[in-house]
């Protein structure tokens, strides 16, 4: 019998002694300011936030629920509070090119007052300009100009008429113009009267008319010029009046912004434009929005008249209430939500726009601070990631629709002046996404130089346990739930180790921890307890498992009913109980699986049936090849391995992957070769290398519990147990009932370091150690294997010997030339 001892109960569970905790309840503990177990990530965040060079943006990678958002958000918010508030930005009309709205940068909190000041200015001008244009002074001067023109024209006609009258000619108005005709006694001559005139007189009159005609034409040619001059005078007058109406209001406004040269420049442009376009205010005064159905539509829409909108200020970033730099989390990072958008309004069925319809995006709001984005959501939005990279490369935000940037629309639209941007981007994603981006996006590494890799577990020692307790206390307060007593905290800590799958580690999956605390609080409330105790935490854990373990229960049920064949008694050669882990969402459980091996004469071939039918993954195949390597290395140094073997996971209908069953398969194969029965009361897990060393695997706790449940259901007989890799002992955090069964010697957990150790436990046959010549001691397990292989080799040689040659007949052909 092998002398490998099973583990003591104490080795199966790293208990947290409530007595070791120096508090009664978590209410006594201070909040945990630092971040538990994320030192590396926290350093990265501080580094990325502190370094001012381009490209040092942050990618927070790690499993969901490890507190990436909350930790980074908290760090950045604290940091941002001490940084300068960002500048205000607004878009204003570009009076020289309205298609290209101008971006104005103002000190924090100054944009909104500018918008209000401009609104007030426009409101005041709505009254002031019409009043100025209705003043007696203006009307008199305007009328004077008009009269001057008419007078000038009248005088021209009058002078011509007088000139004509002196020559016996008059100026006649026709339906469409003027004519010059001879008169006598104030009446135009009839043709007969004219013909009765002396020939000389007729000729004279004709010449005079011709001459006057030319003079008339000459005068008429001057009329447009006179009209133009009059218009110029009216325009100059209008400008003078507008300047007067606008001047003092603008001066008051300028005083408010004396310290901002860009704003002063803008105000000067406004003044010039106001002086030129005072008629917009006259129209607005006449009809609110001016005449016509367009105005009615605008009035209905509550918008200003198109002309007056030119003086509005569209505030894009308003930092009036900012306390430090902005930290913005954009939950829906569409292209428009990132870089802003240009809205349109419907006017007579057509969509029109102007600078007042520019809307900011998250990048505008985060300018001067930090923008937090979920990488997966970002990548799912068309063009959003590419645009974000473009912004980071150019350090400018261009508000542009996707259709515009792709050139899909060619209608005239706005080209707003780009806004310079200085923002630190934080992307959140899992590790796979980070490494995929590193591998496939050539821009990624130059733009996101800093990874913040979040751990999902941390070392479990006294110091960490203390911090963990404070973390629990902090969460309890933040979640406004009952405090936990020492027992409750101890149980949470133990569960933290179980979640980490390691007795020496603690899970830092903060979301899971918070869930557990909330649910424990629910059970405490149900039990009318004032504090959360260990029993409430256990209730919460049990309930979580209960909610998730329908499938585990069904599988156990079918094993118990004999549908899935698992023996827990007896011994059979070539057949062994393997253990696998099934993962459903965040819940995993162990499941025993029968693994069988069959051997026959063949040519160095171990057939992995799972692989043949494409149910086995590459890691499983690797494990099988390794065990074949072990077999060859140990037993085929001096003989050919004339063996064919088949390995199969019985009743497995889904995929199998991982190498955690490779030692199990090797045991089954060796058992078949040695014809040594394997105890069915035992189950095995562990991978193996080519030297026969058993290596650590994952999910050891779930695997042990999976076999324990089958055995417990059938009745523990003291023989049952599980062989695990010795390296996994430190990971053991088994259920209390398993620990109890082990304590009572009703169940065993064997830590195995080598295949030979395992084979002795499984078969009760000594493995034997090879002699210097490679032979094995008689009666040992390995000797039986070697004997079987020798027999196969001999048989193979026998079959490989050529048949006696038949005599060559007449028809034999000469092969030599």
């Amino acid at each position: 019998m092998a002398d490998l001892k099973s583990l003591e109960a104490e080795a199966l569970y790293a208990r947290c002694d409530p007595a070791s905790l120096s508090f009664e309840t978590t209410a006594e503990l201070q909040d945990l300011e630092e971040v538990l177990g994320q030192d590396r990530a926290v350093e990265s965040v501080h580094f990325a936030a502190g370094i001012k060079h381009d490209g040092y943006n942050l990618f927070a990678l790690g499993p969901a629920g490890t507190g990436k958002h909350s930790v980074i958000g908290e760090i950045l918010r604290r940091r941002a509070a001490g940084e300068a508030a960002p500048a205000d930005w607004c878009y204003v009309n570009n009076f020289s090119d309205p298609q290209k709205p101008r971006a104005l940068k103002l000190p924090p909190g100054r944009a909104a007052p500018l918008r209000e000041d401009m609104q007030r200015l426009v409101d005041e001008l709505r009254a002031a300009i019409p009043a100025a244009f209705e003043s007696e002074d203006y009307t008199a001067r305007a009328r004077l100009i008009e009269e001057e023109l008419k007078e000038r024209q009248e005088q021209a006609f009058q002078a011509l008429d007088e000139q004509a009258g002196e020559r016996g000619i008059t100026l006649v108005r026709t339906p469409t113009g003027f004519a010059l005709a001879p008169i006598r006694d104030g009446a135009v001559l009839t043709p007969k009267q004219f013909n009765e005139l002396p020939q000389e007189e007729q000729e004279r009159l004709k010449k005079e008319i011709e001459s006057l005609q030319e003079a008339l034409q000459e005068k008429l040619r001057e009329f447009p010029q006179w009209a133009r001059e009059a218009r110029e005078k009216v325009r100059a007058l209008n400008q003078e009046v507008s300047r007067y109406a606008v001047g003092h209001l603008m001066e008051e406004l300028r005083k408010c912004y004396e310290d901002l040269p860009e704003v002063l420049e803008y105000l000067d442009e406004v003044r010039s434009d106001l002086i030129d376009k005072a008629h917009e205010f006259l129209q607005a005064a006449a009809g609110g929005h001016g005449p016509g159905p367009e105005a009615a539509e605008l009035q209905q829409a509550g918008t200003a008249a198109p002309g007056l909108r030119a003086y509005e200020v569209n505030v894009i970033v308003d930092a009036r209430e900012a306390e430090g730099a902005p930290v913005v989390y954009e939950d829906n990072p569409t292209l428009a939500n990132l870089i802003g958008r240009l809205e349109h309004i419907s006017r007579f069925g057509a969509l029109v726009t102007d600078f007042t319809l520019l809307r900011p995006g998250a990048l505008h709001r985060a300018n001067g601070g930090y923008l937090l984005l979920d990488a997966r959501r970002l990548l799912m939005q068309p063009f959003a990631y590419e645009e974000l990279k473009r912004v980071l490369r150019s350090s400018e935000i261009h508000i542009e629709s996707a259709a515009q940037s792709l050139g899909l629309i060619s209608t005239v639209s706005l080209e707003p002046e780009p806004i310079p941007v200085d923002v630190k981007i934080v992307l959140f994603g899992d590790r796979q996404m980070y490494y995929l981006l590193c591998a496939y996006d050539p821009d990624f590494e130059s733009l996101f130089k800093v990874p913040a890799d979040f751990e999902d577990r941390t070392l479990r020692d006294d110091a960490t346990v203390s911090l963990y307790a404070r973390q629990i206390a902090t969460m309890a307060r933040r979640e406004e739930i009952r405090p936990l007593d020492r027992g409750g905290v101890a149980r949470v800590i133990e569960h933290g180790s179980r979640l980490a799958g390691d007795a020496e580690r603690l899970s830092v999956h903060l979301r899971g921890l918070a869930d557990l605390l909330r649910e424990a609080d629910y059970w405490a409330d149900s039990g009318k307890a004032k504090v959360i105790g260990a029993q409430h935490v256990q209730q919460a854990i049990d309930a979580q498992i209960r909610r998730a373990d329908r499938l585990r229960e069904r599988i156990q049920e079918e094993i118990n009913r004999g549908t899935i064949l698992i023996d827990t008694e007896g011994a059979v050669p070539g057949r062994i109980n393997g253990l696998s882990v099934m993962q459903l969402d965040r819940y995993s459980f162990g499941r025993p699986t029968r693994i069988t091996a069959s051997v026959r004469l063949g040519r160095d071939e171990v057939v992995d049936i799972e692989r043949r039918v494409e149910l086995g993954g590459p890691l499983h195949s690797k494990g099988v090849l390794i065990l074949a390597g072990f077999l060859g290395g140990r037993f085929a140094q001096s003989r050919p391995l004339s063996l064919s073997a088949s390995l199969v996971f019985e009743q497995s209908y889904g995929g199998v992957d991982g190498d955690s069953a490779s030692s199990t398969e090797l045991y089954a194969l060796l058992s078949a070769l040695a014809d040594a029965p394997v105890k069915q009361s035992l189950a095995v897990t562990g991978s193996v290398n080519q030297y026969g060393q058993v290596q650590a695997i994952g999910g050891v706790n779930e695997k042990i519990e999976g076999f324990f449940d089958v055995c417990a259901a059938r009745g523990l007989n003291g023989e049952q147990g599980v062989l695990i890799p010795e390296a996994n002992v430190k990971h053991l955090m088994l259920r209390a009932d398993v620990v109890e069964a082990v304590r009572k010697k009703k169940f065993h957990v064997y830590p195995v370091a080598t295949i030979d150790q395992g084979i002795e436990v499984l078969t009760g046959v000594p493995a034997g150690e090879a002699a210097a010549d490679g032979s094995w001691p008689e009666g040992t397990f390995n000797a039986r294997v070697a004997a079987k292989l020798d027999a196969y080799a001999a048989a193979a040689r026998r079959y490989a010997r050529p048949e006696p040659a038949e005599e060559e007949g007449e028809g034999a052909k000469e092969t030599k030339p």
């Binding site: 209705e134 007696e136 026709t174 009839t190």
Partner: protein
């Protein structure tokens, strides 16, 4: 209330139009006035003999004021244009009369413009649209024009058709005992449902005071209300400015002046009124 015998009510309105006035607008405005005053509208379309004779002279050319280009001035073409225009106006008047229910007539006369008023026949109100045009020229006081006006028995209204005879009624009182303009103004304001304003024109305060009191008493006797204003300016422009002030800057009004008022002797008055946007009714 105005007693019927105090004012010569406008029962028959004569509208004189020629080819140089903006016929359609004038016709529309006159039609609206006739409908409002329940008067008969007699339109007289004048084919100006001077114009036709000019067109008949082969060497006379027509010059466009817009292009300054001269072209042949053809008699037959001119006659055709006049016929077409008269036909259009006649049809329009008929349609307006049917729509607004007033009596109407339309006559085409060929005469010299200065004789058009005689051709128009007797009327309570002669309506002339536009200023600076041939017909208007003959209405100017002084040689050739004053005589024609003097021959009229009724009132004469000069208006700019683009304003459509709208706005308050301003009666200009410049001499004592001239209740005629006030009566016409009060009646017109009442008929049109418009505000009545009285502007007293007097060089001296005492005279202005007396005129105001006379006007006030006249109005009070009839239970009428009106705003009273005064001005010292008797020249054309000063009068227009005073009216503008009375109206608080409003640009449409009908100004009523007694036909015998010396104010009408100012040759600039008609043009000034037109430029200021005020129609002028010379009340008789």
């Amino acid at each position: 209330m105005i007693a019927p015998d105090e004012v010569r009510a406008f029962r028959r309105i004569v509208l004189a139009i020629d080819a140089t006035t903006d016929g359609t607008l004038v016709l529309d405005a006159a039609a609206a006035l006739a409908a409002r005053l329940r008067a008969e509208l007699a339109a007289v379309f004048v084919e100006d003999l001077d114009l036709l004779n000019s067109a008949d002279l082969p060497f006379v050319l027509q010059t466009s004021p817009f292009t300054a280009a001269s072209q042949v001035f053809d008699m037959s073409a001119t006659e055709r244009e006049l016929r077409t225009l008269a036909g259009q106006l006649r049809r329009r008047l008929a349609a307006e009369a049917e729509r607004q229910h007033f009596a109407w007539s339309f006559r085409v006369v060929r005469c010299r413009a200065c004789e058009a008023f005689l051709e128009a026949g007797e009327s309570d109100l002669l309506v002339l649209g536009g200023s600076g045009r041939a017909l208007l020229r003959h209405l100017r006081p002084g040689p050739g024009g004053g005589a024609a006006v003097a021959r009229r028995q009724g009132s004469v209204l000069l208006f700019n058709p683009s304003r459509r005879l709208a706005g308050p009624v301003v009666v200009v009182q410049d001499r004592a005992g001239m209740a005629r303009a006030l009566a016409v103004g009060a009646w017109l304001a009442e008929a049109r449902g418009e505000e009545l304003v009285v502007l007293v024109v007097a060089a001296a305060d005492a005279e202005a005071q007396a005129l105001e009191e006379e006007a006030r008493a006249w109005l009070d006797r009839r239970g009428l209300e009106a705003e009273l204003h005064r001005t010292r300016s008797a020249d054309a422009q000063g009068l227009c400015d005073a009216i503008t002030r009375c109206l608080g800057g409003r640009r449409s009004a009908t100004t009523i002046v007694d036909a015998d008022s010396p104010l009408l002797e100012d040759p600039a008055l008609l043009a000034a009124m037109d430029r200021a946007g005020y129609d002028l009714l010379m009340a008789r």
